[in-house]
């Protein structure tokens, strides 16, 4: 049952082959068997999930039409869930029970989806390995000693290990795509503004975007259909109409122009990964697509620019954690300043503190022009590179990450080396474009992700291009040993 796609399960539910309660129990059992090893869930909502499943069964009998009705999913613990702990992977929010639902969470409730629980993540979504979680690292289902990627590592590992049908994630610099690549699943970061950020705990507000993580592009389309759309409670929510993402999945790719940026190949890229990417590109050629050499000349400036913009915005966003209104508070503060400093010093982990301090420094008097303003100008250059490319091509392709999943502990002591693992994903956030990662031929038994980058609001095109590859090949259907 747990190897079926959303549309297969939706058909089974409607045909009466199994109920949502049975499906939910199957998944809860898998979670209880495997989660102690993987650490992909921080909260499991057994009782509530079964109630939601019962309700879904009733709604299905009444002819409820959403594809997600009765389907067990999981939410990254960055999305506020009313009455349920929402930790954001931080000691700061270890006891925080959200007073309201995030927009994305209420959309899934309306669709009748069942929430199995909340998934582990790097603290406040800051990290590329999930080692920065207050609740400990998540393990990669493909190899116990490897990281699942981050920051949506819990969601990626849970989907790969079939502990949920699909999950939500968020992506500020690669946090959906890089873990999708490391765990061999399909992840989509939509255009900035496509999915409401209401109730999604803020890291860097001009870059953050929620999106689906699933086993197939078809499932990702079903998930995005529920998540996307205008929401007046997010001041940067896009008013653009939401297309039917499933309708165009099978569109023919003859004549598709695929841009292959020379900056995404060579350099630090593992040669075996390059070969896997090339193999996938050849598949597209055999489907009638055309490869076009392009250049994104400011790619090398992506990581440095990101590490000004993201920390600057995070230092501002995380100033709300003051030990007064919610979150961790130190014991016996001697004055107000001591309350702030110790509550924050005790509640935040090392990486979060580093980024707050970098951001504080970059925004402090006398440094603003040299750092933040300079970074925002380079963002323009990076964005212009993509605009020029999309005059020539329909979609851009390259690797999602320069390596397969690295070992737990391997990069933990060196923040800058860790930052460079997002070298191919970060520019997409700086430009606000949609991006995807889909599994291609593994290297050394470990998953490899092909990154697809689309023009603004062309999620349907990305899903179509991804789905066609998944119809022609079976790289996406491989499952990690022990979890089949």
């Amino acid at each position: 049952m747990y190897n079926k796609t959303i549309s297969e399960l939706a058909r089974g539910l409607r045909a009466g082959d199994f109920s949502s309660v049975e499906l939910t129990r199957t998944y809860l059992k898998r979670v209880s068997s495997f989660n102690s090893g993987l650490n992909s869930f921080v909260t499991v909502c057994e009782e509530q999930a079964l109630q939601e499943a019962e309700l879904a069964d009733q709604r299905l009998k009444g002819g409820h039409t959403s594809l997600l009705a009765g389907i067990p999913i999981a939410h990254k613990d960055i999305f506020c869930t009313q009455g349920i702990k929402t930790s954001c992977g931080s000691k700061m929010l270890d006891k925080f029970v959200a007073p309201y639902d995030a927009h994305v969470v209420s959309q899934f409730k309306q669709a009748g989806a069942v929430m199995l629980g909340k998934t582990n993540m790097d603290e406040f979504a800051m990290g590329s390995s999930n080692e920065n979680s207050f609740y400990g690292p998540v393990r990669n289902p493909w190899k116990e000693s490897a990281v699942p990627g981050g920051s949506s590592g819990g969601s990626a590992a849970a989907v790969a290990a079939r502990l949920c049908v699909a999950a939500t994630g968020t992506d500020t610099g690669g946090s959906i795509r890089q873990p999708a690549s490391f765990c061999g699943i399909t992840g989509l970061k939509p255009t900035y503004g496509r999915v409401s950020r209401y109730g999604m705990i803020a890291f860097a507000s001009s870059l953050d975007q929620g999106g689906p993580m699933a086993r197939t592009a078809e499932d990702a389309a079903a998930m995005l259909q529920v998540m996307a759309g205008f929401d007046g409670r997010d001041s940067t929510s896009a008013e653009a109409a939401v297309p039917d993402y499933s309708a165009t999945l099978g569109d023919d790719l003859r004549g598709l122009r695929i841009g292959v940026p020379k900056e995404y190949f060579g350099g630090g890229l593992d040669a075996n990964i390059e070969a896997s990417i090339q193999l996938a590109l050849n598949e597209y050629v055999s489907m009638g697509a055309e490869l076009v050499d392009i250049s994104l000349p400011n790619t090398h400036l992506g990581v440095p620019t990101y590490y000004v913009v993201a920390p600057a915005e995070c230092s501002s966003n995380l100033s709300r954690f003051d030990g007064v209104r919610f979150g961790h508070r130190c014991s016996e503060p001697k004055d107000l300043e001591d309350l702030y400093k110790r509550s924050r010093g005790e509640g935040f982990g090392a990486e979060v503190k580093r980024r707050i301090m970098i951001g504080t420094y970059a925004l402090s008097a006398g440094y603003y022009d040299a750092y933040y303003l300079k970074a925002q100008k380079i963002r323009h250059l990076i964005s212009d590179d993509f605009r020029a490319a999309f005059n020539q091509v329909d979609v851009i392709m390259g690797p999602t990450a320069p390596s397969t999943a690295f070992g737990i502990g391997e990069k933990a002591d060196d923040p800058v080396t860790m930052y460079l693992s997002d070298i191919y994903t970060i520019a997409v956030n700086l430009a606000g474009l949609p991006g995807m990662s889909i599994p291609v031929q593994p290297v050394g038994g470990m998953p490899v992700g092909l990154q697809l980058i689309g023009n603004y609001f062309e999620e349907a095109k990305l899903l179509n291009v991804a789905h066609r590859l998944q119809q022609e090949t079976d790289w996406h259907s491989a499952s990690p040993a022990g979890f089949e």
Binding site: P99, Y192, G193, S206, G232, S235, T236, A238, N298, L301, V303, P304, Y307, V308, S315, S319, D322, G323, V324, R325, F326, G327, P333, K334, D335, L336, E337, D338, L339, Y340, K341, R342, R344, G345, F348, K353, R354, I356, M357, I358, T360, Y361, S364, Y371, K374, A375, Q376, K377, I378, R379, H380, L381, S383, P415, V416, Y419, A431, G432, L433, Y456
Partner: protein
């Protein structure tokens, strides 16, 4: 760019973060490494380039000026560490 212990103390104060004396050297070294990475931005010629505030150059949407939220003080204060009579409690500020 290389930060000294005193720089870290100053930044930590601005950010209202306690950093212990034992951590200062390690933090100074980590932050210096990050700033060295960031300084690769200097390679870019940004003369005459407009800073980008929004990827799609959207302007701030304004909403109608009417009350949309109901008073949920009790709910929101139920998750606060210390409250009394509907107020958030902090250490005495004025003696």
């Amino acid at each position: 760019m290389s930060l000294e212990r005193s720089d870290v103390e100053k930044i930590a104060h601005l950010a209202r973060l306690s950093v212990s004396n034992d951590e200062l050297d390690a933090v100074a070294s980590d932050l210096s490494n990050i700033l060295n990475l960031v300084e690769q931005m200097d390679q870019a010629d940004t003369e005459g380039v407009e800073p980008m505030a929004h990827p799609l150059h959207m302007v701030q949407r304004l909403r109608e000026d009417r009350v949309t939220e109901q008073d949920q003080r009790e709910l929101f204060q139920s998750i606060a560490p210390f409250t009394e009579d509907g107020l958030y409690l902090v250490p005495r500020v004025i003696e």
